[in-house]
């Protein structure tokens, strides 16, 4: 990751920590990275060694005095949220997304499954011509591919599940904050 991308992502993440002086931190890291580059260090390696953005933020807010100062909202938990409505709302949105995703992945899987089954049955019970045979084998392969694809998507989504949940919680909080600030 280069400096620009890193700082942009950092900025985006810091938006959720309202009381942290994000401008100052960005400024600090900008200067730090630029100094490293000027000293001849490799930009990507140096940024890689800084660790993940979330671990940097965790490290910063870990400092107790600092925490007292900045009064960070513990963004990743729903526990200390201001209102129970927000909690319920974000959970509803979360499960809604889960259901929608399940429907999408399910239909992808069944379309692949259907292709395989139908072509196999055709292959067994009707006597296909030589040309048909190629087409059928192709369709079976396609169907198998689509089924594998749906499994891959489910796996990926499960892996990203946590971050999706966090994003929804954050978004809901953000919306809530904006509304209460008005």
């Amino acid at each position: 990751m280069n400096k620009k991308t890193f700082l942009n992502e950092f900025k985006k993440e810091l938006k959720y920590y309202k009381k942290i002086n994000s401008e100052e931190i960005i400024y600090y890291y900008d200067e730090m990275i630029q100094d490293a580059i000027d000293e001849g260090q490799d930009e990507e390696t140096f940024i890689g060694n800084l660790g993940s953005i979330s671990s940097i933020i965790a490290n910063i807010i870990q400092d107790e005095d600092f925490v007292k100062d900045v009064k960070t909202a513990n963004i990743d938990s729903l526990g200390n949220i201001v209102s129970g409505t927000v909690k319920v709302m974000s959970l509803i949105i979360y499960y809604f997304v889960v259901v929608i995703l399940a429907i999408i992945f399910g239909s992808i899987f069944f379309s692949g499954f259907g292709m395989v089954i139908q072509s196999t049955l055709y292959l067994i019970f009707d006597q296909p011509t030589q040309t048909d045979l190629w087409v059928i084998v192709g369709v079976i392969l396609m169907g198998t591919g689509i089924m594998i694809l749906s499994f891959g998507l489910v796996y990926k989504t499960f892996k990203a599940n946590d971050s999706i949940r966090l994003k929804i919680i954050r978004k809901t909080k953000e919306v809530y904050r904006k509304r209460s600030e008005k």
Binding site: Y27, Y28, E31, L50, I56, D63, D65, F66
Partner: protein, 100 residues
């Protein structure tokens, strides 16, 4: 090293680093990393705290047509650092006791 123990020492380590010469974030890390394990994200809250406690002053200078923030130890900071020496002597005694 134990985090709590380290946290208590780090402020003084940073003050000691800028005792004779004003310095900036990257350079402070470079100097301290010769002695101890310190990361960029550890240094930030320390500098912030030292600044808030008015133990250091800061100023900006232009370097390579960009701004660099320098930290300078002030009178309070020097006093605090000198006071810490007595504490470190005590810690040293404890160290010898633990090690015996």
């Amino acid at each position: 090293m134990d985090i709590q123990l380290k946290k208590g020492l780090l402020d003084f380590m940073v003050l000691a680093t800028i005792k004779y010469e004003d310095s900036y974030g990257y350079k402070i890390i470079q100097e301290l990393s010769n002695i101890m394990d310190i990361s960029e994200s550890t240094l930030y809250p320390i500098l912030k705290r030292l600044e808030k406690q008015k133990l250091v002053d800061t100023y900006d200078t232009t370097y390579n047509s960009r701004i660099r923030k320098y930290y300078r130890i002030n009178k309070n900071g020097l006093e605090k650092l000198n006071e810490s020496i007595a504490d470190f002597e005590e810690i040293h005694k404890m160290y010898l006791y633990i090690k015996r």
